[in-house]
Symmetry: C2
Subunit: 240 residues, 2 copies
């Protein structure tokens, strides 16, 4: 019991890195079909004799730093409120593909980079969340650089179909997050379909603004618990 | 390093208890002045040749299981995106006031119950989140029992002004959560003002459906990161 107490207290003291972008009028969202975050009403004043502020908002589930539940592309997959907590708070691993991407918005991560990670770091841990950086977070504040020139010409890196299949076949990774607007390159959907079909979830628009350790950290990725939701805003914290 | 790895992996394996209610049309919200959670649009079909589902929603920040940022009642307090992560993922303590409340919606927690907790469990830990049960979660699905008969006759237990002052003076507790719609009893606001004035946050509508350990657990309380928000939907997980 004393050991458990020590473990828990040590965890709570670990360095915490926020991997979530704030929601405001500049938050990235899926422009081909969705709506942006927007305050509907803002009440903020001293009218009651004391300060009181309370707002209301609307947003797409798939806006900002968010989770794609397996249900997003798989009618039989978990909805956002059904994803087990053991898959949301678990071991993190980090693959930095910034050099390989080299600013190319058509880049697709291949099996080669996944195998290279394992050769350098050992096998992916069981029940882990894989975070991938394409060096795209530095573009977040310029939506043309981040998303592409227009809604029918989206361009940013993503996973190849083969890499998505390699991940699901490994049976070690429960969720994949990346510093781009989508798990797929541009307007593709093959990685979405493959990962969701095996009940894996995705984390999109993850604010990986600095490299993380390759392994040996924890991720808390806690989405808003929308009953039956296809995804939703998600706060993601790495604990190093 | 090996020790740290062990600590982190042990944490990730701890039992996780979801203390968050789902968002749907029955979610409790602050009926005197706010709007409920509502889907604006639901797209779900095979029209593209594969399953695709993506929804949009609107809600009050102060709806369902949510955080009251210090800014809610304190113009100089932290907004929801400014609350330090070290205060959101930290040590939890639990005070079960169900017996003292005994179903009385006018009950206010007093200093006596706080002192009794310390006499039984030792001093409140530094930087801790205090969760309080009034035995109110069992009423959640009956909104008249949970909230009171009407929006101008709200009745549920809460903190007394004296208890709120005792908490802020202790300087050990960074946030207070409870299984009722508000930190204050009914339509009062004195506990809100006191806690927010000292940059403490509140967690409201916490789904404490079963007793927690009195101490020695971790809470991850991760709100949606609304820039400048007065609060917001929050996923709360206890890790035992």
């Amino acid at each position: 019991m004393l050991l458990l107490m020590t473990l828990i207290l040590s965890f709570a003291r670990g360095e915490k890195i926020d991997l979530s972008y704030p929601y405001d009028e500049n938050t990235a969202y899926w422009i081909p079909s969705e709506i942006p975050f927007r305050f509907i009403k803002k009440t903020a004043d001293y009218d009651r004799g004391y300060w009181y502020a309370a707002y209301q908002f609307e947003t797409a589930e798939h806006c900002g730093t968010h989770v794609d539940a397996p249900y997003h592309f798989n009618k039989l997959g978990w909805k956002v409120d059904e994803i087990p907590l053991d898959r949301l708070i678990t071991t993190g691993v980090f693959l930095n593909a910034s050099s390989e991407t080299n600013g190319n918005c058509s880049f697709k991560l291949s099996i080669k980079e996944l195998e290279k990670w394992e050769s350098q770091n050992g096998p992916f841990p069981n029940n882990s969340i894989l975070l991938i950086s394409f060096g795209w977070a530095s573009r977040y504040n310029n939506k043309t650089e981040y998303l592409g020139p227009s809604s029918d010409k989206l361009c940013f890196p993503g996973l190849s179909k083969e890499a998505a299949e390699w991940i699901t076949k490994s049976k070690k990774i429960v969720g994949v997050g990346l510093d781009t607007p989508s798990i797929d390159q541009g307007l593709n959907n093959e990685a979405h379909i493959e990962l969701n079909s095996k009940n894996l979830y995705m984390l999109e628009n993850v604010a990986i603004t600095h490299p993380l350790p390759n392994r040996n950290f924890t991720i808390c990725s806690l989405p808003i618990k929308i009953r039956g939701g296809t995804g939703g805003p998600c706060r993601i914290v790495a604990i190093i």
